[in-house]
Symmetry: C2
Subunit: 121 residues, 2 copies
């Protein structure tokens, strides 16, 4: 398995939990310390720390080494990579339907100057 696949596995696993998604959404608004994150989620510090470790492992968040506060920071590039993977499948899907659409328009267009044969199709 490639490193890219490993990273996508970890990112999607990290996003497969409502608390972790809420932490990501909160950090999109700005950096926050563990204490600041624990309050709105009504969680204990060890509880929130467990989720943060999982988000840190896949690189979705980073934590500065600044004194004891160590604010959490969202790493947007990792979100971008997850979206890019999904977008690639959507792009292939759309191309397929664009081709189908073009094909349908083509066969609906009258192509023969005379009526082709005498049979009804």
């Amino acid at each position: 398995m490639t490193a890219v696949e490993d990273k996508l596995d970890a990112t999607f696993t990290a996003l497969a939990d409502p608390t972790r998604r809420a932490i990501v959404a909160r950090l999109a608004k700005g950096d926050a310390t563990v204490n600041e994150l624990a309050v709105p989620f009504d969680m204990t510090l060890p509880g929130i720390s467990k989720h943060l470790k999982m988000l840190e492992r896949c690189g979705l968040i980073s934590r500065s080494r600044r004194a004891q506060f160590r604010p959490c920071h969202l790493e947007r590039e990792v979100l971008d990579e997850a979206v890019e993977w999904i977008e690639e499948s959507r792009r292939i899907w759309n191309e397929r339907f664009d081709r189908l659409d073009a094909h349908l328009r083509n066969i609906q267009r009258p192509t023969s100057p005379r009526k082709r044969g005498t049979t009804h199709e």
Copy 2:
């Protein structure tokens, strides 16, 4: 927990596996039967069926009831919902930086009332 949260949990869990992501990418190109899917992935039918069940459970794929073939079909709307969730966090993030950017431009602009009258605009 809401039904939307449940669905996102299931979708991201389904996408957190390289074989399941490859199945989604393959189905974006067109419907396929279990047999057709098993060949490129070099997997046994029970192995591939296990992954398909997980993809079916979160609604990412559906399977027609047509005879014994039952082709698998990608449900694009479920992919859209996953992207929309990530896009929302990216939107909030971008707005934050747009505001920061506007603020920085504002404080860099010369504000002196004397100078303001003499500049060419």
